[in-house]
Symmetry: C2
Subunit: 165 residues, 2 copies
């Protein structure tokens, strides 16, 4: 029984192929997806050639102590913010031997949403040597669907960045 | 579309409930499952109360530098061994604020098997304060099925250990 759809596995396979061709190692830093991005990438046989390591930083402490996201940024911007997403990706890149890191922090629901930060709000972060950024997404659906759309967007972002690297 | 079966989610939900009742935080250290154990636990709404962090240590370097598994043990016993599984769980416990850590290292296939260490061989490790151990499993089926059985065994082990803690 596969966990991931054939479409998602095809996308993960493309990422692994592209990273293998460019000899780029990948790291992940996940909050709302809880390890699903790394789980999807490593469902591809041969992923060990390019997947280095993943951080699942679910607790507050894990974001600051584990990924070096400054505590004042987490407090000022909130755990679900572009600043924290970018900091998580930068921390994962720094604490790995990888050439690219992708991160995700968001509100998967059903609880935790506010008018300013509704369920489905997810920030993705990307870090490469000399470049890092984060971007906002508003996904829809239940907890599983929000997480699924986050994984898909993360894989597409990895593919784009690896192609341009 | 859910990633995990209702049975697996029910098991993950039981783990979250038991850990919440005992106020025990959970950490994971995954190799062959690549983040699926943490992904399954965090599919449960409310998991943030007990899931602290997860390590996906796929590369050689990530097992030694990231989880403090001594390099001579990885070389002498191999990455897929009881010693490394136990070391990964101990490393995850040490580098977290958790009360229990679970780890998995194995050969999910289809490649990587040898007569001594066939596809489906998976070691699970457990660490709590004052106690740590690892045990061997021989699972069957394809890559997805081996990973699925590993997640199920990890969740059942967490449930048993949390109940006894």
């Amino acid at each position: 029984m596969p966990f991931f759809s054939p479409q998602m596995l095809a996308l993960a396979s493309e990422v692994v192929k592209a990273a293998t061709a460019k000899k780029i190692q990948i790291a992940t830093a996940e909050s709302c997806t809880g390890g699903l991005i790394s789980a999807c990438l490593t469902e591809v046989s041969g992923a060990s050639a390019v997947f280095d390591r993943g951080y699942v930083s679910y607790s507050y402490d894990s974001k600051t102590a584990y990924l070096d996201v400054p505590q004042d940024i987490v407090v000022a911007c909130g755990a679900v913010s572009a600043e924290v997403a970018q900091g998580m990706a930068e921390g994962a890149l720094k604490h790995s031997v990888s050439g690219i890191a992708i991160s995700a922090t968001g509100i998967a629901g059903p609880g935790g949403g506010t008018p300013d930060k509704p369920v489905g709000l997810v920030y993705l972060g990307v870090a490469l040597k000399g470049k890092s950024y984060a971007f906002k997404n508003q996904f829809s659906g239940d907890r599983g669907e929000v997480r699924l759309q986050t994984v898909e967007t993360a894989l597409k972002t990895l593919l784009k960045e690896i192609a341009e690297a």
